[in-house]
Symmetry: C3
Subunit: 472 residues, 3 copies
């Protein structure tokens, strides 16, 4: 791990970037949005499993790349739906050491990719391994990591502290009882792990299992959901509960950022049709668009920050979805329009100082055209960092290039890692801080900002913007 | 103000850029498109008002950024519609010194933005101020600038000369009598200020006040506009008048670049419906699309250069529009399609050597895909410089990167500043010339062009292309 | 020709790029997709004609640029349709020396363009000319080149060998008898020139001359094409013939990448309507979308690699098309959507290891959003290199920037030159290898890959990826 990694090769920029990076390198990590399983921290004796379970099986960035080169997901330890229920599932899936060896033998596929960068960082900083994985050293690496994982220094809680994480937000269904968050709080451990309210499963009428989710919503909220108004009351109850449990934000996925205000009667009619299983073709899209408005209204009232992550066509590959289920690497971005789609919501709430709406995109063409221009005007709006496929060194450079001149730094929301892979959190924040240093160094070298401003900007990028945008 | 500002930090590129920039740095400014108020130059004794009036109140780049961070427009001296008519409006708006202090206290918001760059240039080059505005020095700066503004050296005419402006085009409604242009001509002052014919207010049926604009068109043209053919005659009369007053170009805004040729009967039917206030939903869009064809036809006949600025959704924020009116920072770009939309116009006039059509975009995705490929083929077509939000150091770099290889330098139209902020003109042209030097230096350093070619290209970028494209 | 041309000016990057480029600079050229006329190689005594015929008349990159600046195509030796049939066509077109002089006098138009770069390379490496063409040296250059062209060292076959071309694919209609390929094989010359099956003329119902093409298909396949099923049988026969003649791939142009599976009955109904000249408006688009599915099905069965080149609106300029025909520089790119459009095809065949589908785009916005994310998941999919207008130094840099992190290098297909201009092949591959070196040098300098990996990546980029993707 070269200490100058990711910095611009230009000597002026490299020395400035190094100077700017150093003071923020060791600042605590603010992780206001992500998908780490809170279960990891509920039990002080929890441990990660095998190297394959830590690095490969749950990481769809890794498995999609291997799959794209013809390696079946089964060989990577991903279980077919239904298989888990068989008496001896273990026998049907490959030995974890074999999975690891397959991964190492194909490590060249990750050359120049963010996964390659994160994996190298994790191996080095978490396990002290500087060797490049390969067929030749796969067994040796497997043994080395396997040996360390059971020790207390490698427990999730110990790593949380070693990683210097100040606060970590999980992402949780509206129907979640947050029992692991409760256990963490009651355990006396003082790692700060907070939930985030993500109601997609009840708000998107075409979400898999929507009807059961509604029943569950009735149970957990204590509000019998029988129509639109009880649905709204139940959601308000859940938001209140999440707030009590420490949540500062909500999160919303949608195929498009369309927003529209339905009359209560229309909203109720659509909701009733859905309850009866008689939705009409346009119902889900219209209802989601309406619920985004409604969620903004609730945010104005209860102060929860609203995140919107639109534009992913989930489960593009039917075969993979039917065989293995969600989140297996076949979610593909769509062209996404923000200017017209968000207009109803922004006209109603965009000038309201109580709303904090954080926008994300998988369509980089919207950066300079729509997102930066909207965020540079509406007080309620800020832009989240480069998301998902764009959470990479080049993706960040494009974001700084295309967003900052027009939106202005202070209309952005710092960084979030958005990861399921707990051990990759420090790697991802490190890439962001180094990419930030490159950008700010460029401004200094071109005499656009002075060093004093530059240093303040670096602190904002590393910590300040995220803290304020997420009201932490 | 560092003399190497904005140049690439790479030593080879920086030294080449410096060498290329120097000979063009002091060339006169050609400003063939902009929005400076001609009134400023009509009276030799005119002066700018307060520092707030000079730098803040009329500059929507500045006020939108402050507004986006929660500062109400009222606090920035922007008057609500209707308020100006009250007996003592002054009492309802904040003291200009307070506006200035608010601006200075928030100057950090402009870090890394084009506004930040232009403001620094204006303070330094116009007022000799090198200090960064801040809460601490706000009063001192206010006094310093206020003291200078009344002196003759700071009159608009004196600054016009100091700025070394060769020619400045304003932008004027089709119904404008150009009385300030007349006064400038009659005053004996030899600053060259020319009008530009912008007929949006009569050509776009949904323009605010369209009906009154048509009445005014009858008055000023002497053609009683009662149907489509008298409308066309009136427009031709106005174009002739603008030409007599020195105009070399027309300018057209449109939501999209759609073009379509209606039959005269259809055009007349739409026009008649509009006169009666009975427009059908599609009428305005179809009529605008048709009128773009018609304007190209007139350009072929009278030789006026035709500029097209499509793709801005005006007044996205209803609340701001209703309260404060037009041009308050809430115009937001749209995805814009050129290949199919312009085809009717280009098929009819694109091969005609008498037409010079200059295209602009707020959608940078069209640069390499549509605009460069169209301009690299049709003789009538050239590309205007990066527009509005993209008139920035990075915006220019993206333009050079994405346009030039395919369109070729000689199918572009040089720079125009497109500004209302008169004092920012030298700053904007300076950014362009430095960005040009960066681009050309890159070609020299990569041995793609030699120094001799590079020097010619620099002269073209600074002056030659604009002069020829605008027939100046 | 500077030996460091096109390398980054940064000293670290330049020295790394040079080190990485050198070992691959002299590797043989793999040209798996292009439009060189096989006739050139059929006769060992073939020669190129005049300098104008070699560099100008057939190269629409060159003629479009000259045309865009007002030079009529007639003056560039492009014949109007029908003129060739007149008794003495020669008298109607300008002298080739005059064409050459016009080109040289306007050589400044190519400053900073890929054509400028390729032409400089060809003049230098093929003819030993280092001078910049100009009005002053035009005659001298014409004589110099004219003198060389008849000599055996400048025969197409000799240049093929001098250029160190390992394999060259042409592109051929489904109805082509491949007689020149047969002659090449029978001649005993061992230059490897293979055909590629491009059935657009029979598959796209709106292709010019479709009906005659179908008749020709019956003749050449020996299958009497009277309905959809005989059409399919005829296509299968032709693919088999092309395979026998050495083809490894097919190629498909389409206005959009839409794919859809029709029932055989629907497909037959559409086909029958077309045979009768009674196509309905949607028929051609639906049939093309269906035939892409069908071609993928055949590729799964016969193993031919499938290339898809969508998104060009052909013959945008009616006047030019009517006067001069196809491929005269007025094909203009369209916005192109891949995620939804390709879903039917990818769901059916994207997981099939027998399919190798190579995707191209003229819409760079799809790189990071759609193409890289699709290729990073589907085993059957790989991305072709930057195409057409984007086959340039900057176009390649954008491709590396936007594609590689997400798709991964190994899901790309190396380079192809896609050219009609035989002598530009080495220039184009040289630009690619140098651009590759810049990209990989950047990864090394930022400590993302080590030098060992970097050298392997270079070999893949120059030769390996193309060979494997095209099954050569």
């Amino acid at each position: 791990m070269n200490p100058d990694r990711f910095f611009s090769p230009d000597p002026t920029l490299r020395s400035l970037a190094r100077e700017l990076y150093e003071p923020v390198a060791t600042l605590p990590i603010i992780s206001p949005h992500g998908h780490v399983d809170p279960r990891l921290f509920a039990d002080p004796n929890a441990r990660f499993g095998t190297p394959a379970e830590l690095f490969i099986i749950p990481d769809h960035y890794v498995t999609r790349m291997l799959y794209s080169q013809g390696i079946p997901l089964e060989k990577l330890g991903i279980r077919e739906l239904g298989i888990a229920e068989t008496p001896n599932p273990q026998s049907l899936i490959p030995n974890h050491r074999e999975i690891w060896k397959l991964f190492c033998a194909n490590f060249h596929l990750f050359r120049g990719t963010p996964s390659g960068v994160w994996l190298a960082h994790e191996l080095s900083q978490v396990f002290g391994i500087e060797e490049k994985p390969s067929a030749a050293n796969a067994n040796w690496l497997y043994d080395l990591i396997s040996e360390k994982l059971p020790s207390p220094e490698f427990s999730p809680r110990a790593l949380f502290e070693r990683f210097n994480i100040d606060i970590l937000s999980t992402t949780d269904a509206a129907t979640d009882m947050l029992e692991h968050h409760q256990m963490i709080r009651q355990s006396g451990w003082n790692g700060k792990i907070i939930p985030c309210f993500r109601p997609d499963g009840v708000v998107n009428l075409d979400a898999p299992g929507w009807r059961q989710n509604i029943d569950m919503l009735s149970v957990v909220s204590g509000v019998n959901v029988t129509d639109y108004s009880s649905f709204i009351r139940a959601l308000e109850q859940r938001r209140e509960f999440f707030k009590l449990m420490g949540a500062s934000a909500t999160d919303h996925a949608a195929l498009t950022p369309a927003t529209v205000e339905l009359t209560p009667a229309e909203a109720d009619a659509i909701f009733q049709r859905a309850l009866k299983g008689q939705s009409e073709p346009d119902d889900p899209a219209r209802f989601t668009a309406h619920m985004l408005m409604e969620m903004a209204r609730m945010s104005v009232e209860d102060g929860l920050v609203m995140q919107l992550h639109p534009g992913s066509l989930r489960n593009h590959n039917d075969i993979i979805f039917q065989k293995f289920g969600l989140d297996k690497g076949s979610d593909i971005p769509l062209q996404t329009e923000y200017t017209r789609n968000l207009r109803p919501l922004l006209n109603k709430f965009g000038n309201n100082p109580n709303l904090s709406l954080l926008l994300f995109t998988l369509d980089e063409t919207s950066y300079s055209r729509e997102l930066a221009t909207l965020a540079g005007h509406y007080p309620a709006l800020k832009l989240g960092p480069p998301w998902w496929f764009h959470d990479s060194l080049n993706g960040m450079a494009r974001y700084f290039d295309q967003v900052m001149e027009t939106a202005g730094l202070y209309n952005t929301a710092g960084f979030n890692d958005d990861t399921r892979a707990f051990c990759s959190i420090p790697a991802r924040h490190d890439v962001w801080r180094r990419a930030s240093a490159n950008w700010v160094a460029g401004l200094v070298a071109r005499h656009i900002v002075d060093l004093e401003d530059a240093q303040e900007m670096m602190k904002e990028l590393a910590v300040g913007l995220a803290k304020r945008a997420y009201k932490l």
